[in-house]
């Protein structure tokens, strides 16, 4: 699995299709079923079906980890917590409300003002002695909070740990409302960030699993459900 970044909108998705097919030395006719997911899913013409990223993340995660019962997915634009029943099916979910606080975009903005790549945040958070308190929900206000904390002499490490805690506490609120059932798995891009993961484990008092491929779980789920659709029809291309 590989992550390709191709911008936003359906043009990005089309470009990715092209790249993937080329790499796999396939053409469009070799593909029986294209499942679209994510925010542009309804507008992607080449798709034969569409499935929400909620179901896709659930499918992807459960394919690899069937014993998971709670999935925390923090992506770029939203944060969601999914509850999985004993049959391995999503039975409820909760998403962030009001704004982008507690999402990957919040971390992007913070990394930007700290002038460091986003994957640097994890390493620096580990060095924190006493995490700073970033209490503002609003991303823009939190930005000014970070600047003023740094201006008053707070260490960058403590501020970064505070930023991770702030994301974790927003998402932990959602998770508690859905009800935590072990095992807990974290998918989505923010799963790569150990600072947020550890802060979440502390808040929720449960171990949280993740994988290097956490960010790809949605795509994996979409591929699995496309496969299921084709199997249902009983015509698989050789």
């Amino acid at each position: 699995m590989e992550l390709l970044v191709a911008g936003i909108g359906t043009v990005g998705a089309e470009k990715i299709m092209e790249t993937v097919l080329k790499k796999a030395q396939l053409t469009g006719v070799d593909i029986d079923f294209v499942m679209a997911t994510g925010y542009g899913r309804r507008n992607f013409d080449p798709a034969h079906g569409e499935l929400s990223e909620l179901s896709c993340h659930a499918k992807g995660v459960l394919f690899k980890n069937p014993q998971v019962r709670t999935i925390i997915d923090i992506g770029g634009q939203d944060a969601k917590v999914l509850r999985i029943n004993d049959k391995g099916v999503m039975e409820n979910f909760m998403m962030n409300d009001k704004c982008a606080a507690g999402t990957g975009r919040f971390l992007d903005v913070m990394a930007n003002i700290l002038q460091m790549p986003i994957n640097e945040l994890e390493k620096r958070a580990e060095l924190a002695e006493k995490p700073a308190k970033i209490s503002s929900t609003c991303t823009v206000f939190a930005e000014s909070e970070v600047i003023s904390q740094l201006a008053t002499g707070e260490t960058v490490e403590n501020v970064i740990a505070g930023i991770c805690n702030s994301v974790a506490s927003r998402v932990a609120g959602l998770a508690k409302r859905v009800g935590i059932k072990e095992e807990v798995f974290m998918s989505g891009g923010v799963a790569q960030n150990g600072g947020v993961r550890q802060a979440l484990e502390k808040e929720l008092k449960v171990p949280i699993k993740w994988s290097e491929a956490s960010q790809m779980m949605g795509a994996l789920g979409a591929a699995i459900s496309a496969y299921e659709q084709v199997k249902k029809r009983g015509v698989l291309n050789e």
């Binding site: 925010y39 309804r42 569409e50 909620l54 099916v89 039975e91 909760m94 998403m95 009001k98 409302r177």
Partner: protein
Amino acid sequence: MSNEVKKKSPPDPNSAKFKLGKIATDAYVDAQAAKDRGEMVGWCSSNFPVEIPETLGLAVCYPENQAAGIAARGGGERLCNISEDDGYSNDICAYARINLAYAKIKDTPEQNMPEPDFLLCCNNICNCMIKWYENLAKDLNIPMIIIDIPFNPDYEVSDAQVAYVKAQFMEAIKQLEELTGKKWTEEKFKEVMEYSGRTSRAWLAATSEAKHTPSPFNGFDLLNHMAVMVTARGKKEAAEAMEVLHKEYLENVETGNSTFRAEEKHRIMFEGIACWPYLRATSTGLKSRGINMVTTIYADAFGFIYDDFDGMVKAYCNVPNAMNLEHARDKRVKLIKDNHVEGLLVHTNRSCKLWSGFMAEMSRQISEECDIPHVAFDGDQADPRNFSEAQYETRVQGLTEIMESKKGGC
């Protein structure tokens, strides 16, 4: 699959839709006519006992109803901005912001209503109402009559609460008699009570037809028809129109028709006030997935059935926003069970703090008791700036997929 009911054009004047629409429109026309005749007219909050002005023969308009109309026709943001420029916080209910702006500008292309000579306010719906009406009274320099019906923390309405509220009803009648010169008669009250009972019974009966699968109606119909339940329950025409509505739904059950013009694949309950600026987006998001919103708490809330003055007082103490969480939950659980609801869609309405506030815990309890998924989306009844269609779509699709998988699909 339900057969489609063909769109009738021009509208059939004998249809419930036509009759109910006419009652809602006439309310504004009649109030303006009364004003033109030199009579005093009022502005009235939606859960103020409509029986009082109706019995006294006073024309009143409902600012919440007008604000919903303005928002549905695209004027919400414009009027909210006027109030905000005057210093009202963006956090205040958008109905209040729209109406306070209207009280200032007095003219909108979307929906006008006559200037008030008095205000009738009741806080059984929320306390924002009190400050909103106080400001109106001050700005327009007119009297405000208030009935205080506090939130009831107990399951049942106590005799003490009835006594407290009844004394205020009596006082409000007295104040209005003195102010307007109109007279309360028991005979007229009886007549109003009778019509109100007939209208309510027909409404309850019509909405309960959703127990059939497929439902004979699209639940979005209720959001429109309820305007009559709020403003005109005590009128003869309202009783008659609601009875026609029930008859039409019964006919639909018999013939397999429905005003839901798609295959009914899933049945949900919608919680909260409609997102008026995005009515089309929110209803299409459901319909395109074969989801019929078969019921809402309005189905129960406007069943004002009582036999005497005390019964009426008690009914007004028992409106949805004034009752405790357990009572409110049980009413919804009943609607869900009676109407075979498979999912709950909650509008976290940024305007309505009270209603949205208790929904988080209530939906959790409902979901557990009825074993159905519940999903919430952010929005606003009248301020278009608090809604994102893409966010709504994702949540509705997630809900659909859970309902599908529970049925063994997907």
